[in-house]
């Protein structure tokens, strides 16, 4: 099972440069998710790897092979597309068979593989149907089947779940994850859905504007976002971000908000020693707050008026007014139901979970 690496990739369309000197390397068996908003270049990167687009400059390696100049069929890849891209005039069996069109296998082996894939994906009863006679989830399975039948080492997924309904999406997510564990292959998966990224990936590359903003494990990306873009993009409800200035006095480091509220950040792992008076952005995740009126006044404690509450099934989001803007908190639903709009609640923030960014550059400090 090979590693995949992009080395100094440049992609231009005429005068427009979409990707500029992009470097990314994943290891054998990794599940890489390329995550980003529409138009961030993630699908372009995937198509470059697939060979459906040509790089303007740079090199793509799969294992020890330089595949930059190879045709798509010779790269040893299989791809699952967003719209499934099943051949409409072929039966499911025909679709699976065409997946092996480039490999010159004997027909018994082809039959054996079709049986294997059909059993694994539970599409045996569908083999003689046309794609038009299948439901969305079934089509998705066939599309995945057409990829895994090739028994290649690297699988590419281009937003494969975005056309499915929520329930099916959760099911397929687990199933793809399971397939990855079983086949032990390397996967490159493009999505704009952060839940898919968080649940499936072993590595996430967050992209924006053709640049990889952060590359790391899901935990790293979530707990220690590298910059304001990543911090704002990952997490729902989004991370609460407020401008503040640092005050450094006799070993005490505090973030001073405009309203006068303070937050002790002395334990924060600063990359370089904090400067007094530096403009920073303080990032606080909604789930790191708790409503708590028992303890005495301490650090990370605010008293804030309620603006609104939203129930999202298993939990609720409470919106409080802080610094003139909404501050989102994740709370238990019954707690949110008991609160009146306009009333003031005491809130405790876990100060060790704070994220600090430079207000100018947007980078983590």
């Amino acid at each position: 099972m090979p590693a995949v690496s992009f080395e100094h990739i440049v992609k231009r369309y005429g005068a427009v440069t979409v990707l500029d000197d992009l470097n990314l390397a994943i290891e054998d068996g990794d599940f890489l998710v390329l995550l980003g908003p529409s138009g961030c270049g993630k699908t372009t990167l995937l198509n470059l790897l697939a060979g459906l687009l040509e790089v303007s400059d740079g090199r793509i390696m799969i294992g020890e092979r330089d595949v930059t100049e190879l045709d798509p069929k010779d790269r040893g890849l299989a791809m699952v597309f967003q719209s499934y891209a099943l051949y409409p005039t072929k039966t499911v069996r025909g679709n699976l068979k065409f997946g092996l069109a480039a490999s010159k296998l004997p027909s018994e082996e082809i039959e054996r593989r079709i049986a294997w894939v059909a059993r694994m994906l539970q599409i045996e009863p569908l083999l003689d149907r046309k794609p038009a006679q299948l439901s969305g989830g079934q089509r998705q399975r066939v599309a995945i089947g057409r990829a895994i039948i090739k028994k290649v080492d690297v699988f590419l997924f281009d937003e494969p779940l975005s056309n499915l309904d929520a329930k099916l999406r959760t099911e397929m997510r687990l199933e793809i994850k399971k397939l990855h564990d079983e086949l032990k292959s390397t996967v490159v998966y493009v999505t704009h859905d952060q839940i898919e990224a968080m649940t499936m990936a072993t590595k996430i590359a967050v992209m924006d504007g053709g640049v990889i903003q952060q590359f790391g494990t899901p935990d790293e990306v979530y707990e220690h976002p590298a910059n304001l873009f990543v911090a704002g993009f990952i997490g729902a409800p989004a991370m609460n971000m407020r401008n503040a200035t640092l005050s450094v006095e006799n070993g005490k480091v505090e973030a001073l908000f405009k309203s006068g509220a303070r937050l002790d950040v002395a334990d924060y792992p600063f990359k370089s020693p904090p400067k007094n008076g530096a403009n920073v952005v303080v990032g606080m995740r909604p789930e790191h707050f708790s409503i708590d009126d028992s303890a005495a006044a301490g650090q990370g404690r605010f008293s804030l008026p309620v603006q609104s509450a939203e129930r999202t099934g298993s939990d609720a989001t409470l919106y409080l007014t802080f610094e003139g803007e909404m501050l989102a908190l994740r709370v238990a639903p019954d707690l949110a139901a008991g609160l009146k709009v306009g009333s003031t609640v005491p809130v405790q923030f876990q100060t060790d979970k704070v994220n600090l960014f430079d207000a100018q550059s947007g980078q983590r400090i």
Binding site: D71, P72, M79, Y87
Partner: protein, 311 residues
């Protein structure tokens, strides 16, 4: 909720829904003057085409004696197939009196090679231009577009020279090949535009699965071309069958299609003009494309509108 339970109970007790009085009585729509006006207008339009056709059909079944009386709308007093038999078997074109059947078979032998040649070439070219990464595809397409508008008469002489040097002038092959060549630009554009609507992801998938031009073409693209093939078939069959100019120019004396045959036997008859023979000959010539229309007309409409809304 209560309405559902009412209908459920009705269904359970076997009461048909038609028997109960409707909850809201809808007003019946009567015939308005507008409808009458439209019907009259449409009838006049239909008559405009039907009356001449009626005259042609009844005349072809009449005897010459009855035709001389001049009552063109009257039905034949004696129904006879003599005119049809004569037109098919014995009508004279020039000095040969073998009837229209010669021209009919010529037309058939022009039609099939020409169809196969033009459609297969146009399909492959259209596929390559639409879905394959071809260098200068845009320029080539523009050239084709220009070619589609060049009138035949302008390139007639060069084409005659070319067919003479290739020694096919005056044969059925010359007519067939010229038909195929002249149809190429338009057919290629039609196929190219149709293939342009095939989702790019299907093409990408095929590139990753096979990557072979011919394999993708025959296994994926051709089976998806059903609708547009019907459209092109009908267009080509009618235009080739009804053509006169190419047939008379390139067919020489032995390779004349049915239309040329028809024109000869109508214009070069001596003595009195036998209208019954002429009408029967005209009908015989017109029937094949009509049959094609009747057989696949429904599919034709489906094919024409196929690209309008993506399925």
């Amino acid at each position: 909720m209560s309405q559902f339970s009412v209908s459920e109970r009705a269904a359970a007790s076997g009461v048909m829904s038609q028997t109960r009085a409707p909850y809201f009585v809808r007003k019946k729509k009567g015939i308005t003057p507008r409808t009458i006006a439209i019907l009259v207008f449409l009838s006049i339009c239909a008559l405009f085409f039907c009356v001449p056709l009626y005259v042609v059909v009844v005349t072809s079944f009449k005897t010459m004696d009855q035709i001389r009386e001049g009552a063109i709308f009257s039905l034949p007093t004696i129904w006879t197939l003599e005119a049809w038999d004569h037109a098919w078997n014995h009508a004279c074109s020039g000095i040969k009196c073998d009837g229209l059947k010669v021209g009919f078979w010529n037309s058939i032998f022009i039609l099939f090679p020409s169809l196969i040649l033009s459609i297969s070439l146009a399909m492959v070219t259209g596929f390559a231009l639409a879905l394959w990464n071809v260098r200068w595809a845009g320029a080539f397409l523009f050239l084709l577009f220009i070619c589609a508008f060049v009138p035949f008469q302008i390139i007639m002489y060069p084409l005659i020279v070319m067919t003479t040097t290739t020694k096919i002038y005056g044969t059925l092959w010359a007519v067939a090949v010229i038909h195929a060549v002249l149809a190429m630009p338009v057919l290629t554009l039609i196929f190219r535009n149709y293939y342009k609507d095939i989702p790019t992801e299907i093409m990408s998938a095929a590139m990753m699965d096979s990557g072979s031009f011919w394999r993708i073409f025959f296994e994926i693209i051709v089976p998806m071309s059903g609708n547009i093939l019907i459209v092109v078939l009908i267009l080509q069959i009618t235009s080739i069958w009804n053509d006169y100019l190419i047939g008379v120019t390139f067919g020489g004396l032995t390779g004349q299609p049915m239309t040329v045959n028809l024109a000869n036997l109508i214009t070069i008859s001596t003595g009195t003009t036998n209208y019954a023979h002429n009408m029967a000959a005209a009908l015989l010539t017109a029937i094949p494309p009509l049959v094609v229309y009747f057989l696949v007309g429904k599919l034709f409409v489906q094919g024409v509108t196929a690209g309008a809304i993506k399925g």
